[in-house]
């Protein structure tokens, strides 16, 4: 590289910048957004290795190395919240995964388009209802004094159960309500997959005298298989990232044993108790695991189906 070459390159760059100046200007607001709210917080991770003192900023305070991480790994909460985080993602995946597929197949066979539209409109709805309302309905339906579920139990001769105070119910409640919230909306992608199947395949099937079940097994399911695999793999990528809101809204100290997850623990330690260093370390631990799992899932998806997120 000589000086002239470098100069020519910088002149080329200037030309490009001048040519695309409008596009650059357009992108600027969003560039600043990502810088401020995504990339600077990434730099802010150094807090996890420091003894954070509020007045002194992110870069003030003493370096403490891996002290917070070690403290977390040794604490009695470590296994509990990692286990809860994992299980609260695993249960909805295991029990909830097949339901939208089944639902999409059924919807596709409904012959009245009016009824199909109605069923779609209704079942997508819970996806758009806020977590606060969903959690509020759960808590109130399950209330031991005036909740509908316990009224039914009593009418049928049982004894009222205080669902929201007993840890053993939490995972079930979380999973079932999660399926209720999402099965309709999650079926959209499978419906699109079924619509993409070549109608000639169905015709051929019928000419061969196949019944509906055989048609399902030999045409519909194979036609959806790529989508199913991609969705499965990508859901596996989310196995360590349980949403904060729903757990936070549903749980209470009596349920921590089965309900406390990494994100709620970070919230309590960081925002409520102001242990910024420790909470950042726990959060970083979670981010790193998430990144690794998503990366692995995506690589698997690309290998198996040639479809991937990036």
């Amino acid at each position: 590289m000589n000086a002239g070459n470098a100069e020519r390159q910088s002149r080329n760059l200037m030309t490009l910048i001048r040519r695309d100046r409008h596009l650059l200007l357009m992108f600027l607001p969003v560039f600043l957004y990502f810088l401020l709210f995504c990339y600077i917080p990434m730099v802010g991770i150094v807090v996890a290795f420091k003894d954070f003192i509020p007045g002194r900023g992110v870069f003030g305070g003493e370096w403490v190395g891996f002290r917070w991480f070690l403290q977390f790994f040794r604490s009695r909460y470590f296994t509990r919240i990692v286990r809860n985080t994992f299980l609260l993602a695993l249960y909805p995946l295991v029990f909830g995964f097949p339901i939208p597929i089944l639902f999409a197949i059924c919807l596709n066979e409904v012959r009245s388009s009016k009824f199909r539209r109605l069923a779609q409109t209704v079942t997508y709805l819970p996806h758009f209802i806020s977590t606060v309302v969903v959690a509020g309905m759960i808590v109130n339906f399950l209330s031991p004094t005036d909740g509908i579920v316990n009224l039914l139990i009593k009418v049928l001769g049982g004894k009222a159960v205080n669902f929201m105070m007993e840890p053993r119910w939490f995972r079930g409640i979380y999973t079932v309500s999660g399926i209720w919230q999402s099965f309709g909306f999650s079926s959209i992608i499978y419906i699109a997959a079924i619509l993409g199947i070549d109608p000639a395949l169905y015709d051929a099937c019928r000419i061969d005298g196949a019944g509906k079940l055989q048609e399902l097994r030999h045409v519909t399911l194979p036609g959806m298989s790529t989508t199913i695999v991609v969705v499965l793999i990508l859901s596996l990528g989310g196995i360590m990232s349980v949403g904060f809101e729903k757990v936070y809204l549903l749980y209470n100290p009596a349920l921590y044993e089965t309900a406390d997850v990494i994100s709620t623990y970070v919230y309590r330690q960081g925002i409520e108790l102001q242990n910024f260093g420790y909470a950042s370390a726990v959060g970083l631990f979670n981010s790193l695991i998430n990144f690794a799992v998503v990366f692995a899932a995506n690589t698997a998806s690309r290998r198996i189906t040639e479809m991937s997120l990036w």
């Binding site: 900023g57 639902f103 699109a192």
Partner: protein
């Protein structure tokens, strides 16, 4: 497609097929009923008379129709204030979302743009790694956004996934259109506003819905960054009424009508609040529902 359907109708006659269709319809009906029951129960309690609720009867339809619960709730000023706040966040927030999403997606869809690849990576990376809650909390506090209205807008200015959906839509516009624009001497801003955005209206409709619902339902940012009660949105209010069921809130909901307030079943007020908070969503979303499959597939295929 119509032909194929008609043919299918004629064909469905074997006994196995009839059983198959019976199961299909049964499952869809069950799905619809299971989805609707919780809403119907809430609506029915919200419309029943206090007496009927106190007798602890169970029904899907309201007993002894009464609007007393609604009358109570709308008399409470905090309902109106939080409703107004939520409207503000939704309208201003969604407007900024759509503007920023288009401004980002358009350059990323132009093949000639020399920073296209690095900037694509720049936004995609944030989907997979984040600094986490605490550093975000620190930066937002230091920017002076804590307890301001803008904290409900700026930290959620765009979503990477929605930029990708929008970018795919722009990429789907035929190149000749852009050529004729540049021949006519239109610059990129004019092209975006006058030509490209009108051409992707269906996608923008879906994105508007996603963003608007996101703002309407946003609880997380308000919980973290809005300590001032007069700025808090509906969702924070709902949480107090529904989940914390704080006696203080329920008492004040009864307002000055002490005797009346005692008579009001608190569960009714909770359910009225639910209905009041989701009515706008139920009213708004069926209009956009028809674009869903399209909107989602754009993101899934080309993302």
């Amino acid at each position: 497609m119509v032909g194929a359907n008609a043919w299918r109708r004629i064909r469905a006659r074997s006994r196995g097929d009839r059983l198959f269709y019976f199961l299909v319809y049964a499952l869809v009906v069950i799905a619809v009923v299971v989805t609707l029951l919780p809403f119907l129960h809430v609506l029915s309690v919200s419309l029943s008379s206090v007496d009927a609720i106190n007798r602890l009867t169970i029904s899907v339809f309201p007993r002894e129709l009464s609007l007393e619960g609604y009358r109570m709730v709308i008399r409470y000023p905090e309902v109106w204030r939080s409703y107004y706040n939520t409207l503000w966040y939704t309208v201003v927030g969604t407007f900024c979302n759509i503007a920023a999403t288009c401004l980002a997606a358009y350059p990323l869809s132009r093949r000639r743009f020399f920073l296209r690849r690095p900037l694509n990576f720049f936004i995609t990376f944030t989907m997979y790694f984040s600094g986490g809650l605490i550093p975000l909390y620190i930066i937002i506090t230091r920017l002076g956004l804590y307890n301001t209205r803008w904290v409900m807008v700026l930290p959620v200015l765009v979503s990477t996934f929605n930029i990708m959906i929008c970018r795919s839509a722009f990429e789907g516009i035929s190149p000749e259109i852009f050529e004729s624009c540049s021949i006519d001497g239109a610059n990129d801003f004019t092209t975006l506003l006058k030509v490209a955005m009108p051409l992707i209206t269906p996608t923008l409709a879906v994105l508007t819905l996603y963003y608007a619902v996101g703002h309407w339902n946003d609880f997380f940012h308000a919980l973290l960054f809005l300590g001032r009660q007069d700025l808090q949105p509906l969702q924070i209010f709902l949480r107090r009424v529904l989940i914390m069921a704080s006696p203080e809130v329920l008492q004040r909901l009864g307002g000055n009508m002490a005797a009346e307030a005692l008579a009001v079943s608190s569960i009714q007020i909770r359910y009225v609040s639910i209905v009041v908070s989701i009515v706008p969503i139920i009213a708004f979303y069926p209009f956009i529902q028809k674009y869903f499959v399209k909107g989602i597939m754009l993101g899934a295929v080309k993302g």
